[in-house]
Each structure stands twice: as C-alpha cells, then as structure tokens.
C-alpha cells in the first residue's frame, strides 16, 4: 500500500494514500473533533466541525471528506479553525435542549464534551436560540425515545439504520429548523422499525435513548463484556451493571457483531432481574413443590436415580442437556450421565433443530458445522437462503446479508414457502411447496450439469459419487420440478445459473431444511449442490447451517448427544471408548443412547423411568405436546435445573435453581464454530448456582465426585479429550474467541472449513430421491401447517415473555393465513380461529397476510397458551431422528362455528 507525505501542523507525516485528512490526522495522533463522522458509516460531511485549513484553498475544508494529496499542507489548530469550530458548537447549543442534569446521555454525550472543551457556558454563548425549542419526545416505539430538541441532525442514526442494519426505516423529515429524524409520517411507530437500537448506539447525544430510563449515571455503572443469551450468532454485548442489577445492554464492537445487536440482544435481558427467578431448590412434597435445602434436593435426586438404576439398570435413566448452558456444563452433564449414571441416554434440543445437519454434513464433508465465518458472508457474491427466516431468527446475520446486497452488490436468492422479509432484498424468490426441497435442489443441479456450469475439476479432485448422483439428478428436469414444487422452471434455471456462476456463492439454511422426515436428505442435497459447483472450501463460499440456540453448536461439540463423546467421537468405536474410560476412570456404555423424541416414547413404554433435564422446556419446544405432557406426567422421577419455573419445571419432583448466562463463567460456541466467553456479570439470585456447580454436587452424591475450581479448568479437560477443541483455553478467548478446529494452543483457529481437503477426505456426493412429507393435506385436514420463530420472542418464551418491551411488540400467539383462504373460511384479521391436527388443537389470533402461500398456515411456537407444538408431527427422520416440525396437515375453523368442539 503506497504511502505519501503530508504536512500537518508544521510536521511531516507519512500516511497511507487514499485516506481523508481526518483519517490522516487520526493516524498521526492529532485530534479532530467530529460529530457526524463515524468510522463505520459512509461520510456525510454535515456537521462541519472537522474543518481545517489546507494550503491553496481559500475556504476551510471539512477534514472528513477531503482526500489527502501529496505534499498537502494542513493546519488543524489555527485561530480561524478554532473559531469556526467554536461557532458550530455555539450554534448547536442554541438549538439544543441543554438539559444535561437529567439527560440520559450525560457523561458520554459528545456535544457535552465539546461544550466543555470550548468553555461554552451560558454566559459565553453568542446566540440566544429558540425559546420554544423544547418539544415533547417521540415515545411511540416500545424500546426507544427520540427527543428532537436534543438532536443535532448528524444523521448517524439514519446511516446506521440503512448502512449497518440494511433496513433504512428512518429518515430525515422536514426542512431547516424543523428537520428531525422520524420513522414514519407522524411518529416512530408508523415505521417498520424493529427496535434493534443500532441508532441509539451511534447517537452522539441524548436524542435517541433507551425508553426505559436506566436511572443510573454512565460513570456509576460497571460495564462487562459477555455473550448474548439468545441465538447462535453469539453477539458480544457490553452489559451495564449497577448494584447487582443489569441496567442496560450495548453491542460490543468486536467480532462477530461489531456493535450491532437485535431487539432481543439489546432490550431482552431484563429477565435476569426478574422477581420470578428461582432462588432456592424445591422438592415435591404432598404433590406440592416446596422450598428445600440444597442437600435435601440433591440427596433426593441421587437416591431416586440410584433406586431406579439399581432396579432397572442405567439405561432406564435419561438426561436432557441444554443448548442454553455453557460448553463446560454440557460437558459435565454428559460426563455425569455417562460416567456416574452409566448411560448414553443424553441428548438435547439440537435433536429438534440440526440433528440432520450434523448427520448429513458429517456424511458429505466429515463435519457438521457452518463452513464459513459470519463476517465472510458480507463479501459473498451470491447468497442462497433457504429455510431460514434469517432477519428474524438470526437478526444480526440477517443484517449482514442485507449489507452484502445493499452495500456490496451480492445477488440474493431466497427459496422459501413464506414471503420472508429478505425477499425484499432478493434478486430471485422461489416459493416451493413445503417439504419439496430435495426436488428443487436436484432440479438446480440438473440445470447446472445440463448447461455445463458444474465445476468438473473440483468434482474430479475433491469428490466421489458424481455418476451415481447424476443418475438421480437427471430425472429432475425443471419442468418436473415445477410440478412437484410449483417453482416456475424459468426461475429455477435462473437461480441455478446465478448460484453456479457467481465467484463466491454461499448457502445459508436453517430449520426449513432440517426439520423434515427427509431432513438428512435435504442436507445431503444442499451439500451436493455446493460440491458440484465447487462453491465450498473457500472464503465467503460454502454451506452454512445457522444454528439456533446460543450454544447448540457447543452442546453438540462437547458430547451432549447419545451416540458420540465430545468432539463427535463415536461411543461405538472401541478405541474412543477406551480413551474415555481411561480419562474418566469408569466403565462406559458402548451402546448408542436414545434421542429426545425416543426418550419421550420410551417413558410411555416404561423403558425410561428417571429423567434429568438441564435448562430445557420440552413442554413447549417438542413436537406433539400432548404426548410429551403425558410422558412427563408418567415418568417416575423428574428433576429439572432451570432459571425459571418453566412449564416443564412445574411438573418436576425436584427443581434446582440455576444461575443465568450472566451469572457465571464459561464458554459458548456460536454458529460459526467460535468459542466465546461468558463472564460473571452479576451474582446469581438467592441460592441459585451455576449448572456446573450443581452437576458437581449431584455427581458427587451419585458416587462419582467431580472437583473443579473453575469453568476454565473444565475447559482444559475438554481440550485434552476433544481434538477439535485441543487448543482452546479460556485465557485465549478474551478478545475475539477462537474458531474450531483448533488443534493446539498456538493454532489461530479456522476461519472456513474444507479448504484443501474435506474433513472426511473426499467429499461424498449422495444421490437423493424425492420423498414427500410424512403427512400431506387431505379432505379432513386441508392445510399445510408450518411453525417457526418470530423476531421478538425466543424459543419457549421463558425469557422473552418476561420482557415488557418485547411483549409490547408481540403480545401473543397468532397464525398467518392467506387472504383467499381467510375469505373462504370467513376469517378476519385479528379474529380468532381454531387450528386442529391429528394430535391436538389450539385457539389463536388470525393474521391475514400474503406472507404465506394459499393453502398454508404458519404459527410461531413461542406461546404456551397457543402452543404450536400441540399440533406438530413427531414423525422422525430415520437417520437423524429429527421430527418433522415444518410440515403437518391441519384444519382451520373460525371460532364459534359448528366445526369447533370436535
């Protein structure tokens, strides 16, 4: 990179060519004040504070937008410059509600700092200003407040919303003295603002602030960086703590989110302060859960499990680990189940989301995780999103996709039965019939191979099984695919060409691909598509399953699965078994354990009698809830560790109060395989303990003592036994974390997988034929039901439904139905309907919308009072044992019609 010399304030400085005067000054350590400038945003040049003198120019030049030229002579601190800057601050103050005494931004306000620097007290200001400037703030948003009288019109918020978040829902309105920022014609809530709060984070004054007054001064809080409690993106957050309470959350400016968050990340953590948190252990006595001591509770669990184990064997006990707790805790949990109890019956909710990914990608590539890094997505030239409503389920990745399109010109192909928000940004949208994914992917491959766009060299050198694949794929002509999927053949061809010919294409998928009886087939198809085009194993190009829960990747990595030890090492492999037996000092079972849905089934058959659940809520999250409910009622003994009295905990015999993510040390592994740190931001409430301490106690009571002094020590044990984690140490994770595989403590981690060879050697192409979903619509159940998430709630709502602002955005459950169907069924938007399947029935609010196709119904599963999983089908994928949550046949009835009540 060439350098040039310029003169700043009489001294020569060598700076990088092509930068602006402001950047040059910054790199030379010369301070330049600026309010509208922000390194993350495109230049606006509107505050004019950064003006400098440049030799050869008559007028002052704004440093932020002036490019440097060789031998330029710049003066940053002349009386003329100072006077202009002082005047600007003076002018701003005269149109500013200088209410610093009670302003939320006091202490971090950039205008306040400048006023202080220039000594602009009331007496030394030149201008009187508008007497009536103070106006009522706009408080129509559930999460933020906009106070026009504190706005300096720097437009950072507008640019943040458009350029960083890719949403562009706010803009400047009016002219001259009336200019302000607004989301809508009248007020903020008229807009599509989804409350991510990026604008607040970049506001230099108190114009945009968190609506719920934090009530504590900036300088009085302790700020601790940790990882977000919600999805698998693994956003790094800065938590503001005061007197044992979490008062505010900001995005931390590091990988992977670089300051951004979604509405849940920024505003959805109030639950840790909730009075409803579990604070003491509870045991069931005379049918009632009553407070108990830790010794009593742990003793009760140990004696019950011992009793069951002694009379029915260790495999009559099962444990559900959790994608919501740390790697260290999941590791200890599975270790306890395997070594202390003696069974491989340990599984967790990954079974319900990405079991098919783990199985499918392991078969195709040799390892089942996102192949690329989140940041790489921004520079993909084509992104194919299928079965992922990314902007709602992984919002920060959603913004990166939008940025790739809006800022870098990527082509976006969305394949989804619903018109998700990303369709707005898409080059092409292919609406397939639910459950026909193998068909359209085979169809794309058919086009690619027929039109000779496949990567012959990559296929020859890096893969096996192409001929067998072609035997199946050749039958999937676009016209035949159109019959199966309803995707017009022309659109499919166009999509195939774009995907195959773009320099770096990336596939993003999620539950829409995995939660089918053909989930593993779907994943194999996705892998086939990437391999025949050579769109894998390079930066920004690969196969990227987005993992749902914040630590679902980690829970799988550290062995909370019934068939593998930590690091996906098979329990059936004698060498592996021996290694773990040696390390853990116990004989271990070499028989694969049961999966989540199988456990529930076995309870019914009395195969499972004791169940320990750590931080999961199958009473809302699992398919066919009536069945789950019956199982949990019938199980002989149920122990639950949780932070709240969840629907599942309420059915337990013993409930143990756990520390939340913010109250303990540990690690999560996010969707891009990055191991990230959790910090103890707050002390746990009451007698609650981190899960790892609970497990240590319980394991000891079961006769298998565990002694760890810290989570870091547990990680050292994980690293010793898990090759992909071998180089991971807590001490390495403080700045950016490390992406596995990381074979030794000096290895920098792996940005993208399968660079020169696949984990399994050659990539395996699997011929996959199309199989329809398990349950198709018929006369009795004429609609296709699909379930999913919405932005404002998370999973079973245990956390988010305790957050006021999120409930304001999304107070309750609903079903989406197409206008034509609504008309036929006499349903009104906002009215109520009953949705019924062969397994159950719920009542919910009707939303009439073109987001869903005709003949389809969509219901989010967060809401226990209208629990979508009462309806879902628990038919399983034969390989991965993932249930078909995405397709069921249902009936819809207007509430009050004769059809009801059956």
């Amino acid at each position: 990179m060439p350098f040039i010399t310029i003169n700043i304030d009489g001294r020569e400085h060598t700076v990088q060519e092509g930068v602006t005067v402001l950047e040059a000054c910054k790199s030379a350590g010369i301070p330049i004040p600026a309010l509208c400038y922000h390194p993350k945003l495109r230049l606006a040049g509107n505050c004019r504070l950064c003006v400098v003198e440049v030799e050869g120019w008559k007028t002052l030049q704004p440093a932020c937008v002036t490019p440097i030229t060789p031998n330029m002579v710049v003066r940053t601190d002349t009386p003329r410059v100072r006077s202009a800057r002082r005047t600007i601050v003076d002018l701003l103050l005269a149109s500013h509600d200088c209410d610093c005494l009670v302003c939320e931004a006091a202490g971090r306000c950039e205008l306040q700092k400048l006023a202080y620097e220039y000594g602009l007290d009331r007496r030394s200001r030149s201008f009187i200003g508008d007497e009536d400037y103070v106006s009522m703030p706009d408080e129509s948003s559930p999460v933020l407040r906009y106070d026009r009288s504190k706005c300096i019109n720097c437009t950072r918020c507008i640019r943040a919303c458009g350029e960083i978040q890719g949403k562009g829902v706010i803009a400047a309105v009016n002219r001259s003295r009336d200019v302000s920022v607004s989301g809508g014609i009248v007020e903020w809530s008229d807009s599509k603002c989804d409350g991510c709060g990026e604008c607040i984070q970049l506001c230099p004054t108190g114009a945009l602030s968190v609506k719920a007054r934090i009530g504590v001064r900036d300088w009085d809080v302790r700020k601790v960086r940790t990882s977000c409690a919600y999805c698998g993106v693994g956003c790094q957050l800065e938590m503001w703590v005061h007197e044992g309470r979490l008062v505010k959350v900001d995005g931390a400016d590091v990988v992977p989110n670089y300051g951004s968050t979604c509405v849940k990340g920024r505003f959805g953590h109030d639950f840790v302060n909730s009075a409803e948190r579990l604070k003491t252990p509870m045991v069931r006595r005379n049918g009632m859960l009553v407070p108990a001591s830790w010794d009593e509770a742990i003793g009760r669990i140990a004696s019950e499990l011992e009793r069951i184990k002694n009379s029915h064997g260790p495999d009559s006990i099962a444990g559900l680990a959790s994608a919501r707790v740390s790697n260290e805790e999941n590791y200890l949990f599975q270790k306890m189940m395997r070594a202390a109890v003696g069974t491989n019956n340990v599984d967790h909710c990954a079974r319900l989301c990405h079991a098919s990914t783990v199985a499918g990608l392991a078969a195709a590539f040799g390892s089942g995780a996102m192949t690329n890094s989140i940041a790489e997505l921004e520079h993909a030239s084509c992104i194919l999103v299928t079965g992922s409503n990314t902007t709602e389920t992984h919002p920060v990745i959603g913004t990166i996709i939008r940025r790739a399109v809006r800022e870098h010109g990527a082509k976006l192909i969305v394949v989804d039965p619903r018109r998700i928000d990303l369709v707005d940004n898409a080059t092409l949208w292919l609406r397939q019939r639910n459950g026909t994914d193998v068909a359209w992917i085979n169809g794309m491959m058919n086009v690619i191979i027929t039109e000779n766009f496949h990567d012959k060299a990559f296929i020859a050198e890096r893969t096996e099984g192409f001929d067998e694949l072609w035997e199946v794929v050749r039958q999937f002509t676009p016209e035949r695919v159109e019959e199966i999927t309803t995707i017009p053949a022309g659109l499919l061809r166009e999509a195939a060409r774009i995907y195959a010919t773009s320099p770096a294409s990336s596939i993003i998928y999620s539950m829409g691909i995995t939660q089918h009886v053909t989930g593993t087939d779907n994943v194999l198809s996705v892998a086939n598509l990437a391999m025949i085009t050579g769109q894998i194993g390079k930066p920004s190009s690969g196969v990227n399953p987005l993992r749902g829960q914040n630590n679902v990747q980690g829970a799988c990595d550290v062995g909370a699965l019934p068939n593998v030890f930590p690091g996906y090492q098979k329990v059936t492999d004698p060498a592996v078994l021996e290694k773990f037996e040696k390390a853990w000092g116990r004989d271990l079972s070499s028989r694969n354990g049961l999966t989540v849905v199988e456990i529930m089934n076995e309870i019914e058959k009395n195969g499972i009698r004791g169940l320990v659940i750590m931080g999961e809520n199958p009473m809302v999250s699992d398919p066919n809830l009536a069945h789950v409910e019956k199982a949990l009622q019938n199980v002989e003994f149920l122990a639950v560790m949780d932070i709240f009295m969840s629907e599942t905990a309420a059915m337990a015999d013993v409930v143990l109060p756990a520390a939340s993510f913010a109250e303990k040390e540990g690690t999560f592994t996010n969707t891009e395989r990055r191991v990230i740190l959790l910090r103890e931001v707050l002390p746990p409430p009451g007698e609650a303990l981190p899960d790892w301490k609970i497990i240590c106690r319980l394991s000891g009571a079961l006769g298998y003592p565990m002694n760890y002094s810290s989570a870091a020590e547990i990680m050292e044990e994980i690293a010793a036994l898990t090759p992909i984690y071998a180089g991971i140490r807590h001490s390495r994770l403080f700045s950016e974390g490390v992406q596995w595989p990381c074979p030794d403590p000096t290895h920098p981690g792996t940005r993208f997988l399968h660079k020169d060879r696949f984990s399994r050697g050659l990539g395996k192409l699997h011929p996959v034929d199309f199989i329809p979903p398990d349950e198709l619509p018929d006369d009795q159940y004429p609609f296709i039901l699909s379930t999913g998430r919405i932005l404002y709630h998370y999973h079973t709502g245990t956390m988010t439904r305790r957050v006021g602002a999120l409930n304001e955005y999304a107070p309750g459950g609903f079903m989406e139905i197409h206008p034509a169907d609504a008309l036929r069924l006499d349903l009104e938007n906002g009215g109520r309907a009953r949705v019924t399947t062969r397994r159950g029935s719920i009542e919910t609010e009707v939303r009439v919308t073109g987001r869903v196709a005709e003949g389809s119904v969509f219901i989010p599963f967060h809401f226990v009072e209208a629990a979508a999983n009462r309806l879902t089908n628990d038919a399983l994928d034969p390989v991965a044992k993932i249930p078909e949550l995405k397709v069921a046949a249902c009936r819809v009835d207007r509430i009050g019609t004769a059809m009801g009540g059956s």
């Binding site: 002018l91 005269a94 803009a171």
Partner: protein, 590 residues
C-alpha cells in the same frame, strides 16, 4: 386576407386573462378563414394579455388586451385591415407605426428567446419552420462529438445557472469519463423568488431545450436524460410533455436518432418544491427517489453523478443556447457580449421596476441600462436604490454602482452574483435590512437541514435580523452577523449555504448606515419596518373628514369634524388602513 392572430399564452398571459381573450377570438374566427393561435411569452409581462396580428410579414403587437378589446381589434384590424394604433405596444416590419413599448425590446438581443412569443410552443411544425432541429441534424450528421464540444468551447458559452462554468469544458469532462451509461440532466428547478426565465423558455419554446440536450447527449455519449422541473410549473411540464412526445414521433428521440446511431431518450422528473433541489447533487438525489439533500464532492457529477454514473447537468437557458450556436457558429455567438462573458443573458425584471418582464440582453450591458432603458425606470417615479441580483443567493448592488456591467467578471466584484437571472429592483421605500431579512428567511426555510451552518447558522442570523428590524438590535449584532456570515460562507456544505449570507453581507457593505439607524436610533430610514415607524397626521393636509377615524379598527384616531385629527400612537396597531382611506395624503408614516 390571410391574417393570423396570435395570443400570448404563457403563465403571465394566462394569469392576466389571456384565456378569455383567446376564447373570444376563437369564437369570432369561426368561419372567417383567419387563424387564431397560441404563442408563449414575448417578455412584456407588464402588458399582458398580449395579442399579435400578423399579415404579410408584418407583426402588430397589442398589449393589455381584454376580451372586449380583442373583439375591437378583430373588427378593426383583422377584418377591417386598420391597426388599432392606440393599443399597439410594438410592431415588427411596419414602417411608420410605433408602439408604446418599442424601447423595451430595442436594446435586447434575442438568442435564447428567439422563438418565445413567436411560435406556437405546442407545435413542432412551427419550431421546425423557425429552423428548429436543423442544429441537431447538423450536429448528428455532420459533426463528431469532439467537434461539437470544440464548437461549444469556442463559443465561450458559460453556464447560465449562475456559476458561469464554461459549458464546453464541462461537457468535455463528462465526455472523458467511461460509459456505457451516462446521463444528461436539465436543471429546470427554478426557485429564486422573482425569477421566471426558465419557466418562460419552457412554456414558450420547449423544443429548443430538448434540441440542446440531444446535442449534448451526442457530444458526451449520454444515453438518457432527465428534465428536473418544479411541479409548480404545470404549464411548462405540459408543454414539455407534448414536445417530448412530438420529438419522439419525429425520430429526434429514441433509437438511432436521424440514422446517426445515437440512442437517447428523456423523462421529466417533477420536483416537489424544495429550493435546495436546484443544487445539482440534491437534484440527483431527488431524481433517485432519495430526500433532496446535497451530496459531498468529490466525486463530481461528470465522474459520478446521477445513479453514480457520469452526468452532465446544465440549466434550461444554457441548453437553449446550444442549437443557436451550432446553427450560427461559435463566432457569431462569441461576437455578442464581453470578452470573457460571451452571448446574452436573460433577466427577469421584478420589484419596483416600471416594466417588469423578461429581457434578454448582451452580456456587459450596465445595470442602469437594464433598469432604465429596458425596464423603464422605477415605478411611480421613485428613486432607484439598488438591485438584488441572483435571488436569495445573490447580493444587492446600490444605485451608485449602476454603471457596473452585467457579466460574470464584474458582478462578483460587487459582492453579488450573476445568478440565474433574477433582478429585483428596489426603490427608496425598501428597507435594506428588511430586504436582507426577507431573503434570509427564504433560504433558512429552504435549508435542507443537512449541515450545521446552513441549518442553524442561518437561523441564528435570521434571529439577529429579526431583532434589528424590531428595533431590539445591539451594536454587537453587526459584527456578530458578519462573523457568522463569513463562517457560513466558508464552511457550508453546498451552494445554498455558501451563498445564503450574501444578501446580508452586501447590504451591510453598502447600507451599513441603515443597520446602524435601526440599532442606534431605533429608526427605519425607509419607513418600512413596522416596529420602528409611527403613524401621524399632517395637520396641514388633513381636512378633518373623519374617514380615517371611521376606518381605524382600534379607535386610535380622533378629532373634531372639519379639524385636523390626531393619532393616539399608544393605541395604533400600524395596520395602514388610515393611509389607504385618506384621500388627501395626510397620513404620515416615518
């Protein structure tokens, strides 16, 4: 008897009642064999409606024509063959008969306005008959793009939007940047108060602008064009729309124009009423569907303009000059005007001038010639005080400097700017502080709000000016205004802010005593600022009729019948009703 009657139907004519005149004439012409048609504005807005009778190469122009007068003209001149001499304002090709307004056109040189008031703006046939599109034919079929640019360079044509940048050089910049897509934009967002040059050209001769743009497209490699016209010009938009359609039908727009291989078409984009959209980068933003706010430069439009593509933007008058230059040659154009400012400039004369209208004069004519010889001096014989040139971005030039030539070199030396051609003439009753306040209020209201200096700097200046005109100014206010004005000029983002303080700075420069009188003596020398004037009754003139007392809404006037009355200044609200009701000029305002 092949006489033809033509009615001036620009916005000025229509607002003076030309429609009724036209309708009456059409009615009378039924079956007469005489044609009644429409034309645009001839420039004599002060005499509208204007009707012209044409026969055998002679043109007789009548002014202040009502429907009744039209009937009379029809009867006596059209049918009878006898001109109605008392209503004639101008004649062409008729020896011996002089109209009352011969002087208005005498010193003009009409290049841009060559067809205005002559042809029917809705008829492409008339435009072609007047030589229209021959320049295009020449440029496309006989000249290379480089030759066109050379010709425009040689003509010395400079941008008529106000900045005076050499047009040929501008074209060469855009021509030098790579395509394939380049835009040709016409700025028709005329927004200065008191300016109506571009509107008149668009209403009276839209094809001349289209022809200029198509020639520019050839020169630069333009592929598509936009005319950004303010929505408040419905007639201009209507006539442009008709013209574009007609040009398309004749093959002057579209694919392979005149067989030359040039593909070019254009669209009209209506501006929504923001003054700042006259600034080219804001104009581009507005065309793109963004909020009309200026963008930072570099990059300059010739490199990355509209939709980030190389773009050439000129205003209406600039484009309208181009066909004339191509047809008549660069030398003919360069022979008009001064050495550095070639050609003519169209001015909209407004304010206290006797003959407000549109005049096109050679560059270098003095302000005095414009005001007195063309404009007929000041209304009601009052004293000429100053002109405000260039609208709210411009500045005032005092009468003492009336011999300043109007060109791109001389005018900026006075502190004013050429501007796009607005010339507001001020007389002794105009308060210069109030005038500055008026224009600053305009720019302040029109500030897009993007940069601090323009958004709040001009607001603070306005507040100070308001204080001064209320008589609440302090001696520090003048240096404070000057200091702030200089900073706003220096460091605002776009032309709007960089020029907004000009009216204030020039009035302080030339009329500082008026500011001081307001501040020190609490007096408005022009008797204009209400807060500083008092109303009184001249006892010598008052006859005691009582009419003023009867009309006073607050009962501030009293007196015995037949004796001079008195105004109680503590009650007086300075509404001025007494002045208008007094038949003896006895009410004093000072």
């Amino acid at each position: 008897m092949n006489r033809k009657v033509v009615v001036g139907m620009g916005t000025c004519g229509l607002s003076a009642g030309a429609q009724a005149v036209y309708d009456r004439l059409r009615e009378l012409s039924e079956g007469s064999g005489c044609e009644v048609s429409v034309t645009g504005c001839i420039g004599m807005c002060f005499r509208e409606p204007v009707v012209e009778v044409r026969s055998e190469g002679r043109r007789t122009v009548y002014g202040d024509v009502s429907a009744e007068r039209a009937a009379e003209i029809w009867r006596r001149h059209v049918l009878g063959g006898e001109p109605v001499t008392e209503w004639i304002i101008k004649t062409f090709g008729e020896e011996g008969v002089a109209g009352s307004e011969e002087k208005f056109l005498a010193k003009q040189r009409r290049i841009v306005l060559r067809n205005c008031g002559v042809i029917d703006p809705e008829s492409i046939d008339e435009y072609e008959a007047a030589g229209g599109y021959s320049a295009l034919r020449k440029a496309l079929l006989e000249m290379s793009p480089a030759q066109i640019i050379e010709e425009v360079k040689a003509s010395g044509l400079r941008g008529r939007g106000g900045a005076g940048f050499p047009t040929g050089m501008k074209w060469s910049f855009a021509a030098g940047n790579p395509g394939p897509v380049k835009y040709i934009v016409c700025n028709a967002d005329e927004g200065d108060p008191g300016a109506f040059m571009d509107r008149s050209v668009l209403e009276s001769d839209p094809h001349s602008v289209l022809e200029g743009m198509i020639i520019a497209a050839r020169a630069i490699g333009g592929t598509a064009g936009y005319i950004y016209c303010r929505a408040e010009y419905p007639l201009a938009i209507k006539r442009l729309t008709i013209a574009i359609e007609a040009a398309r039908n004749r093959g002057y727009l579209g694919r392979n124009i005149l067989g030359s291989g040039l593909d070019f078409d254009l669209k009209i984009k209506q501006g929504a009423g923001a003054f700042v959209c006259g600034e080219e980068t804001a104009l581009f933003a507005s065309i793109e569907g963004e909020r009309g706010m200026p963008r930072i430069r570099p990059p300059f439009p010739a490199e990355k303009g509209l939709w980030q593509k190389p773009t050439n933007n000129n205003n209406v008058e600039t484009y309208a000059n181009v066909p004339w230059i191509i047809t008549n040659g660069a030398a003919a154009f360069a022979s008009v005007g001064t050495e550095k400012s070639r050609g003519t400039k169209v001015f909209a004369l407004a304010g206290r001038v006797a003959k407000g209208g549109l005049a096109e004069v050679p560059m270098g004519m003095t302000i005095n010639e414009l005001v007195f010889d063309v404009g007929g001096g000041i209304k009601e014989g009052r004293a000429f005080k100053a002109v405000q040139m260039g609208g709210p971005s411009g500045g005032c030039i005092p009468a003492a400097m009336g011999d300043t030539p109007v060109d791109f070199e001389s005018i900026p030396r006075t502190g004013a700017i050429m501007g796009s051609g607005g010339m507001v003439v001020l007389d002794e009753t105009t308060c210069m502080v109030e005038m500055a306040r008026f224009f600053l209020e305009f720019t302040q209201n029109e500030s897009c709000g993007k940069c601090t200096f323009c958004r709040i700097g001009t607001l603070r200046m306005l507040e100070i000016l308001e204080r001064i005109t209320r008589g609440e100014g302090t001696p520090e206010d003048i240096p404070r205004l000057e200091d702030l004005a200089v900073k706003i000029k220096e460091a605002s983002l776009c032309g709007l802010g960089q020029t907004a303080p000009n009216p204030v700075l020039t009035t302080i420069r030339y009329f500082r005593d008026e500011y001081e009188a307001h501040i020190r003596d609490r007096r408005c020398p022009a008797g204009s600022c209400l807060a500083l004037v008092t109303f009184s009754i001249d006892g010598a003139k008052c006859v005691g009729c009582g009419l003023c007392a009867k009309n006073c809404p607050v009962g501030a006037i009293a007196g015995e019948k037949g004796k001079p009355h008195l105004i109680d200044t503590s009650k007086c609200v300075k509404c001025g009703r007494c002045i208008s009701s007094c038949n003896f000029g006895a009410i004093l305002r000072s």
